[in-house]
Amino acid sequence: MEDKPFDTSAAAAAEPLEKPESQIREMWDALKSNKGALVGLGIILFLIFVAVFGHWLMPYDPNLSDMGASFLPPGPEHWFGTDQLGRDIFSRIIYGTHISLTVGLSAVAISLTAGIILGAVAGYRGGKTDTVIMRFMDMMLAIPSILLAIAFMAALGKGLDKAVIAIGLVSIPEYARIVRGCILSVKENDYVQAARVVGNRDGRIIFKHIMPNILSSIVVRATLGISTAVLDTSALGFLGLGVQPPYAEWGDMLGRARGFIFSAPYTLIFPGIAITITVLAFNLLGDGLRDALDPKSRQL
């Protein structure tokens, strides 16, 4: 074989061995050009900072009530005012950041793990397995999620850990459906068939050949999912099913202050703003990621 058709020496001279770009690097490069996503990312980093170092930032003990100082309007002493028990709202919101982020992340972790496993099995196996799993998921989707979460809470009992589990369980079907859909479309690719032909077993095909190629869609969904989880936590808190007093949680703060909407609106406004900003930040980042990871917009 003398006349090797492909002239390798020329290519070697032109370009030295190149370090391959990692997937994360690729995402970051694409994300950098999206302003909305950067703002979202900035806010999230700030929230994480507040959640971690909140103890040093709080001017007051968030649980310390001072009946003499109840319903103080925002001012230099209490930046966001005080609630009906005289607790400093600013400190309570900082404390709530910690709770909301923890709940959001752990709930998504639960639903993501279960969703990936169920979706992958359903999508890859197909047939009866698929039908059984997906019909069950459809049944869960048919019930309004907050109602389902309340039902779970009723079964599990009150408390923050139970709320996390309930919210996590409720959003499993969404992830299962997305993972299944992605797997169905990736599964038909020639390279997945090629992996079978060279002798791969099913498990390796799913995790080595299919998963890396659908990771981006899952990451996008999970980012958006955190904001839903934060909202759901607040809703459960508002209904008094989440965090138990005296701990501060944004939804719970709203719920307890709803009687004072006209007399002391700041008791509602600030927790409301906190929820809005957090949800908005995760949505911005999620949308930005989706644009950044869409191969069509990345081509050039």
Binding site: D3, P5, F6, D7, A10, A14, L300
Partner: protein, 326 residues
């Protein structure tokens, strides 16, 4: 001359640099003539056809040159006048007949729509013309098939519908971009036969864009060979296939598997098409050429007339192309 393309340069502004997909290309199509532009992927043949149709969108743009259709420069026409010409006097058919038809509309309605936008006809007249056109392109029982949806038809039938639609307004120029690539061999033969006979019947010019030299030999009158955005050779079909001049054309012709030769190995062109962002300074084909000389690597030869054809190669002329832009 029906269509004259002069010094057409279409460039694409990419993140990594500017690519001249079509680089100073000139050719002309006469009335009733079939001109084939042949080239491999990246040769700029499709971008040429899209430029003529005014379908180049950012990041691409026509940087230089004129496209004269019956004397009017299409690159300078306002959009509404271009739209009048497009689909009326110039039509186009595409490679993929599946994606070029609207899946939720009946064949009849799609053809009638294009007839009614370009010709002032009543609905009945347009319908009659639609059936006439379907009959012309060889669709059996056209009245019945006109009511079909695209998915009810096979690939070959859909390509016939596309041709019927393109011909419905009696265009003077039909641009056919790889019209048979997605089709089976026996169907390809049918469609080529159809194009050839329609040209005779309607005295229409065809600009045939293809990568398949076999198709060229079967259908075209004249051929333009493109490589990396440049015309390397232009000749009438007989000359090109009997005495090709440019080493690239020679290599292409020899690398086609033919039924009538007994060689075990095919002859081939080594290497691959250069990256459009890192073009060699001289002739674009120099890296792959067996007859490459010193100056081929430094200078771009000019396209010069030789024996009634045109060729861009230092083997035939010393002339160097001037004002090369970077």
């Amino acid at each position: 001359m029906l269509l004259e393309v002069k010094h057409l340069t279409t460039e694409f502004h990419l993140k990594k640099g500017v690519v001249n997909a079509v680089d100073d290309v000139s050719f002309s199509v006469d009335k009733g003539e079939i001109l084939a532009i042949v080239g491999e992927s990246g040769s700029g043949k499709s971008v040429t056809s899209l430029s003529i149709m005014g379908l180049i969108s950012p990041p691409g743009r026509i940087a230089k040159g004129e496209i004269l259709f019956k004397g009017n420069d299409l690159t300078r026409l306002p959009l509404h006048e271009l739209q009048k010409i497009r689909g009326d006097q110039i039509s186009m058919i595409f490679q993929e007949p599946m994606t070029s038809l609207n899946p939720v509309q009946r064949i009849r309605d799609q053809i009638m729509e294009s007839i009614m936008t370009h010709m002032k006809l009543t609905k009945e007249e347009a319908l009659r013309r639609t059936v006439e056109m379907l009959d012309l392109v060889g669709i059996p029982s056209p009245e019945a098939r006109a009511n079909d949806y695209p998915h009810q038809m096979s690939g070959g039938m859909r390509q016939r519908v596309m041709i019927a639609m393109a011909l419905s307004c009696r265009p003077e120029l039909l641009i056919a971009d790889e019209p048979t690539t997605a089709l089976d061999v026996t169907i390809q033969a049918q469609i080529l036969e159809l194009l050839y006979s329609l040209r005779e019947k309607l005295n229409m010019a065809v600009l045939l864009i293809t990568h398949d030299l076999g198709v060229v030999a079967e259908a075209a009158d004249r051929v333009v060979v493109m490589y990396c955005g440049k015309i390397l050779e232009e000749a009438d079909v007989k000359t090109l296939f009997t005495s090709p001049m440019h080493p690239y054309t020679v290599g292409l012709l020899e690398s086609i598997p033919r039924l009538d030769d007994e060689r075990e190995r095919l002859s081939m062109i080594r290497g691959m098409v250069p990256n459009p962002l890192h073009m060699p300074p001289g002739c674009a084909f120099s890296d792959r050429c067996d007859r490459c000389m010193e100056k081929c690597r430094k200078h771009m030869p000019a396209l010069v007339p030789v024996n009634g054809s045109k060729v861009r190669c230092f083997l035939y002329s010393e002339e160097v192309e001037e004002d090369r832009h970077e």
